[in-house]
């Protein structure tokens, strides 16, 4: 049986698997950001990726790998997702001409559900709790013989997200650290597995919303989170899970810095606005979380030898009719 923790080889194989359908995302720099931080900041633009986020990497890797296995027959794919992974799986399934169902909690932004439907996936609404999402997803998988592709806690998904690091370390050869927004932990796990083997001195920092308790959990290497799993009180809906995964958390304990960057919503919004205004990039609040860490006072306390810092701008799926720095309701909203 396959190990649950993907290896560097799994990540390199994932690169080969996805490369014909996915572009290499650009890295951009900003003198303004370098001046503000006194370090060299490199922004990996996953917001410019297919479906608007990094999630297409893990979803596509999982889908293609499943079809390579001739011993099982799959009729389609299903997932539960706050949106980005749902879009990514819908797109991936469409790219291999198989059907897809996506379970999303009531209240998911229209910009995300519209996009899922634009990739021909069936949209299934469920109550906004982690338990209800899992249950609905399992039911569809069982009834339709669809493979369940979880948003993060799966080795092929993690390996797919790890391809970010393969590209990034090729694009910027001397990165001292990478800042990664964290929800379930799939992206940071994949990045850490690859990057720490290529360069054991590189530091991988998690950037999270308030209430995540990640620093305590990483320091003790224990799942201190209360059950049942809860959503955080943050506007950054792509990173609102409190708990990391059963597969991802042990990887994070081994490879990710114990020092966590915890970001309040106001700082995420300000950083997102900075990305629009100064970097000319449309990013979602989860990207703003990592950018806010770079702009934080906490960054100033980091070792000065951490000179070249990579930042993952993980996605760009934000409702541009309802930008978070425009306070009142706008006319376009209700049309």
């Amino acid at each position: 049986m396959m190990s649950e923790r993907p290896s560097l080889v799994d990540i390199v194989l994932a690169v080969n698997r996805i490369r014909s359908k996915l572009c290499v995302t650009p890295v951009v720099t900003s003198t303004c950001l370098n001046d503000l931080t006194g370090r060299n900041i490199y922004l990996k633009c996953e917001n410019l990726h297919k479906t608007g986020s990094f999630k297409c990497r893990g979803a596509l890797n999982t889908v293609i790998k499943a079809l390579e296995n001739k011993e099982i027959s799959i009729s389609g794919f299903v997932t539960h997702s706050s949106g980005n992974h749902g879009q990514a799986l819908a797109w991936s399934a469409k790219s291999v001409n198989l059907p897809c169902s996506v379970v999303v909690p009531v209240g998911t932004p229209l910009v995300k559900t519209n996009a899922i439907e634009s990739y021909n996936a069936e949209l299934v609404l469920c109550p906004p709790t982690p338990a209800a999402r899992l249950e609905t997803c399992n039911k569809i998988g069982h009834e339709k013989n669809y493979m369940i592709v979880p948003p993060f806690d799966h080795p092929d998904v993690i390996a797919g997200q790890g391809t970010i690091a393969v590209e990034f370390l090729k694009q910027v050869e001397d990165l001292d650290a990478i800042f990664v927004p964290v929800s379930g932990g799939g992206m940071i796990s994949g990045i850490a597995i690859y990057a720490k083997q290529i360069n054991p001195n590189i530091r991988i920092y998690a950037c999270v919303p308030e209430g995540k308790m990640l620093s305590e959990c990483l320091k003790s290497c224990e799942r201190l989170w209360p059950n049942p799993p809860a959503f955080l009180n943050t506007k950054a809906e792509a990173i609102r899970l409190q708990q990391c995964g059963e597969i991802t958390f042990p990887i994070m304990c081994d490879l990710v810095e114990k020092e966590v960057f915890t970001i309040d919503d106001a700082s995420m919004i300000a950083a997102t606005k900075f990305a629009f205004e100064r970097l000319k990039l449309v990013v979602e609040l989860a990207s703003g979380c990592a950018l806010a860490a770079i702009l934080s006072d906490q960054l100033k306390t980091l070792d000065k030898n951490i000179k070249n810092i990579g930042v993952i701008l993980c996605g760009g799926n934000i409702d541009i009719n309802k930008l978070p720095w425009i306070e009142n309701e706008t006319k376009t909203k209700d049309i």
Copy 2:
């Protein structure tokens, strides 16, 4: 005396002059855009450039070349500009540690004037007519011994903008056409000089706001525009000059397609929104003008052999507190 029309060599020299201070802008693609048009669309992201537009190329080339000339002594630089060229010159002057004055018409968006001032340039307001801008600019140049760097009608500015084509033709080797938003014509002239010599079969199309009369002028190779020079009635303030330049227009007559893409404001706004929503790029309406041409019915009438189309997303300087698809006034506007 130097010829007024820059050569291919001038453009290659400009590449060498500016390369240490400016990045190569990325080219992005979009399956959605390819599906909508039935062609391969390549977007050159000048919105991601220093100062938020392509204008840094021409300004920096002119500034550095002026300082290479040991026979004249320059105390600083001055220009009149609707904003983007002003920002670009301010940044270029700052990068060589010389002062800069920028003459802008009353009513220029705050996002642009703030940016000019952020590069330490002196801001000089004038009435919003082309004549007043020129006059104020000449006065400052004379009084302070500043070199006047016009926004487009100067061989070094044109050569600098031509560096876009050097990069673009390297990034995408088999471009059949390039779509370029046009105001004074500096960018399209520089691009056309380089691209048509590298590949005489490439077609260079101008994209302009309504009222520009460019097609008539190009077809007759005559300046049919009324005098004094007027501004067009368009929300795309970066491309609101009616007349092209005295140097640029003859270049355009020789090298640019007579078929012009004329775009109304509503189409520019829709295309700009498309860029935000689907491409995850912050662009200004002038970029939306070129993108709207790509999305227009007119494009469908183009020769089917024009398969690989480059589009210049010329800039990203848009007021993100006042996006044109959000109709009502927002709270943040008056803060």
